[in-house]
């Protein structure tokens, strides 16, 4: 196998999480190639959201962690959160309510860009997502689907190297959910980003069409609410 192939993508090596003496998760080995996805399934309390916090570098110090995480060959655990370049989407869109739509999108752009480039990129992203002219809108006035799309655009504009999805489809209703899921994975594939999805929902897991890893004890418990 080519060394390149091994280096690229998101690799978790022997990653484990503990809360006090209790092992929450792992040790886990997982390799996600560029443009591919993997799903971590488990009930609430199984540590799957904590795993994403661990990857982001914002894990509560009450947890202990072990293992290595490589992104395109680089050990990202040594980096501060803002330098890891991981894009994350949550169940809630978490648009910053004090900023306009354009303000939200520009927040994710690299700071080095000049004013005009920033404006162009925001406009282009909005156009691509069918939200032409939404720059000055207050996020609170958007529909659920529009908000979800803006959150996705904001993340993509920050030029992430991998996508982390924390049940991002949970709040959307059935029709919208399917379309948004397709949009997210299309964009990820187009940019050759590795995607790690955590969910308790089997339908979401199957929609991701990658390998599925189950964590926690029992999935028959049903969805956690």
């Amino acid at each position: 196998m080519s060394a390149d192939r091994v280096q690229q993508g998101l690799r978790l090596e022997q990653v484990g999480l503990w809360l006090g003496q209790r092992r929450l998760l792992g040790p886990l080995d997982l390799a996600i190639a560029p443009g591919e996805s993997a799903t971590l399934m488990g009930p609430s309390g199984s540590g799957k959201s904590s795993l994403l916090a661990f990857l982001c570098g914002t894990l509560d110090p009450a947890f202990r962690s072990r293992g290595r995480v490589r992104l395109d060959g680089e050990d990202i655990l040594a980096l501060p959160p803002e330098r890891r370049r991981l894009g994350i989407l949550f169940q809630d869109d978490l648009l910053f309510p004090h900023l306009s739509v354009a303000g939200n999108l520009a927040f994710g752009l690299p700071q080095a860009l000049d004013r005009q480039t920033r404006r162009d990129r925001v406009a282009a992203a909005l156009e691509e997502a069918g939200l032409v002219g939404f720059e000055a809108r207050d996020p609170a006035t958007l529909s659920g689907g529009q908000r979800a799309r803006v959150a996705l655009l904001r993340m993509l504009l920050s030029e992430p190297r991998a996508l982390l999805l924390d049940e991002p489809f949970g709040r959307l209703d059935a029709g919208l959910r399917e379309r948004f899921r397709r949009l997210v994975f299309e964009r990820a594939r187009a940019r050759m980003l590795p995607v790690l999805l955590v969910t308790h929902d089997r339908e979401d897991a199957e929609g991701a069409s990658g390998k599925i890893v189950t964590v926690g004890e029992d999935l028959a418990d049903g969805p956690d609410i």
């Binding site: 570098g57 914002t58 959160p81 803002e82 994350i88 809630d92 309510p97 609170a140 920050s158």
Partner: protein, 568 residues
């Protein structure tokens, strides 16, 4: 790298903050304790002696002063607690609840001195109430003869204190109710057949009380040792303990300093004893109420309780409004003879007469308020940000430390704090003044900010970080704007606290700085109702303006936003 350096700096902040306000309190207590036993560093008095205590205990004013302090302090605390509980129980879940919550902050912002001056005019023999019922109470056209304010037991003082302490306890109740699922507890009790008031007393109050403990102790310590309100509403011959001690401290001869220091220690012991007694009462009530709580009594209609609660809320608002209105009228009154209900002729001259010193006094007050509030905001936000970054979960003990300047009577440590200032070479400077204000502003600002800060969805910050923003950018661009409303509310509270501070201004400034608080008290005790009206009204208007700004600014800044956290 910058983030790590900033984080390291931030890590020192909690320690610095605690030192900044524990040091003056502890050094202040020591600096009061030493002269209480005859030792005054830097003077010829260096030997341990019990003479200060002998002098204190043989002072003819002491028994009366103690009686007035104990009666007014305990009465004020019990009445305020009862009124706050009655109001909260009666209004819970009604639409008046939201009203009350909105009116509380401005009510709380009214400075003690301003309220006291206005209240004194309301209840005095030649005051508004008597004037309103003049045909009945003063048929001769002469003011009736009764000793209020200034009754020897301090009853008028207790009522005046109640006007300030009831809103404070109500605010503590409202914030305490947010700490546990009170509505669900209340609903489950009502589904079990309990009437609303009984349900509140049986399931909400027992869960709520632990959150009220520190605020109540602070009220107790404050009421037993209040100076500015005591000067205006309390007895004068002899005055209550704390005003008496202030007079001794202010005495030009060094001799009265020693018994004053002993009295300040006695004042601290008095507050400590009262707190211990209250704690004992809590335990007794908890034990005695056990069978009542589990006895299954569903309670009556609760109509009496509701009426008391509503009446208490209404009279509280009405009396406070009348007190401030009285100040305003006096400030524009030219001739206002007894028993006219309104001035018979008006003038702007009071303001003009006051304006000679008014600008300077206003400037000092503003500077003090803004500086101490600004520093308190920076320290509190820094500590909370540090707590979040390092996932710290402060214990209840830290809360006790934050409350410390509110639990120790001011007169018991401020003399010693002034001695610390002198030792540092900053006595009677603006710096010492700002520092002493910070002691009292910081706890309020921190307590106001802590819940909103800790309640802010952590995922906003994580989203920002993952979008490539550093810790500092997340803090300034996301956290602060998202918390604009509570930050401004905390600033308004801090500002109002600073404007109301009398004793700290007097001691740290060594009488060289005049603020609205010191001037209003001086004029009121001097009996000049017109000028006291000017300064008192302005003292009340400034914090109200602060609160108005705190409400208007976010609405203005976020006029195009209606997100749940930032909108109107």
């Amino acid at each position: 790298m910058r983030g790590i350096a900033a984080g390291g700096w931030l890590r020192l902040l909690p320690g610095l903050t605690l030192a900044l306000f524990l040091l003056p309190v502890l050094a202040g207590l020591a600096g009061t304790l030493l002269p209480a036993f005859g030792i005054l560093p830097g003077s010829s008095a260096t030997g341990f002696s019990l003479k200060p205590w002998v002098e204190l205990l043989s002072a003819p004013e002491l028994p009366g002063a103690l009686l007035a302090s104990v009666v007014s302090g305990l009465l004020a605390t019990m009445l305020s607690f009862a009124a706050a509980i009655a109001i909260a129980a009666a209004l819970h879940g009604t639409r008046f609840h939201a009203w009350l919550a909105r009116l509380l902050s401005p009510l709380l912002a009214l400075p003690h001195a301003a309220i006291a001056i206005g209240f004194a005019f309301l209840i005095a023999p030649s005051g508004w109430l008597v004037r309103a019922a003049a045909p009945l109470l003063a048929p001769s056209g002469q003011p009736p003869d009764f000793a209020a304010p200034g009754d020897s037991l301090g009853l008028a003082l207790a009522l005046g204190l109640m006007l300030k302490e009831t809103p404070f306890l109500l605010l503590a109740i409202l914030s305490g109710l947010g700490q546990f699922p009170a509505d669900r507890a209340l609903l489950s009790a009502r589904m079990l057949g309990y009437r609303p008031t009984t349900a509140w007393l049986k399931v909400v109050l027992p869960q709520l009380y632990p959150q009220l403990r520190l605020p109540i102790y602070a009220v107790l310590a404050f009421s037993l040792s209040v100076v500015d309100m005591g000067l205006i509403l309390g007895p004068s011959a002899p005055p209550a303990l704390a005003p008496l001690l202030l007079a001794w401290f202010n005495d030009a001869s060094l001799d009265s300093l020693f018994p004053a220091a002993a009295g300040a220690v006695l004042q601290a012991l008095l507050a400590g004893t009262a707190i211990l007694l209250w704690r004992g009462g809590e335990i007794a009530v908890a034990r005695l109420s056990r069978s009542w709580l589990a006895g299954g009594g569903r309670g009556g209609s609760g109509i009496v309780g509701s009426v008391i609660g509503f009446a208490a809320a209404c009279s509280l608002l009405l009396v406070a409004a009348l007190a401030i209105a009285g100040l305003g009228l006096w400030s524009f009154a030219w001739r206002w003879p007894f028993p006219a209900v309104l001035p018979v002729s008006w003038t702007l001259g009071n303001w003009a007469a006051g304006s000679l010193g008014l600008g300077r006094v206003l400037g000092t007050s503003l500077l003090l308020g803004l500086a101490s509030t600004g520093i308190a905001l920076a320290l509190s936000l820094g500590c909370l940000e540090n707590e979040r970054r390092h996932g710290l979960h402060p214990t209840a003990r830290v809360l006790w430390l934050i409350y410390l300047p509110l639990l120790v009577p001011q007169i018991s440590f401020l003399f010693g704090t002034a001695a610390l200032d002198a030792w540092l070479g900053i006595d009677a400077t603006l710096l010492a003044l700002i520092w002493s204000h910070l002691l009292f502003v910081l706890p309020y600002v921190f307590l106001m900010l802590a819940d909103p800060y800790r309640g802010l969805d952590e995922r906003y910050a994580r989203t920002g970080l993952c979008l490539g923003a550093g810790r500092a950018r997340v803090f300034f661009r996301l956290t602060l704007p998202l918390l604009l409303r509570p930050i401004l509310a905390a600033a308004a509270v801090g500002f109002s606290v600073s404007l109301s501070l009398y004793l700290p201004t007097l001691f740290a400034g060594a009488g060289r700085f005049e603020t609205l608080a010191t001037e209003a008290v001086a004029l009121a005790t001097g009996g000049d109702r017109r000028l006291a009206g000017v300064f008192g009204f302005l003292q009340a208007a400034m914090p109200l303006a602060g609160f108005a700004l705190a409400l208007l600014l976010p609405a203005l800044v976020y006029r195009n936003r209606r997100g749940p956290k930032v909108g109107g």
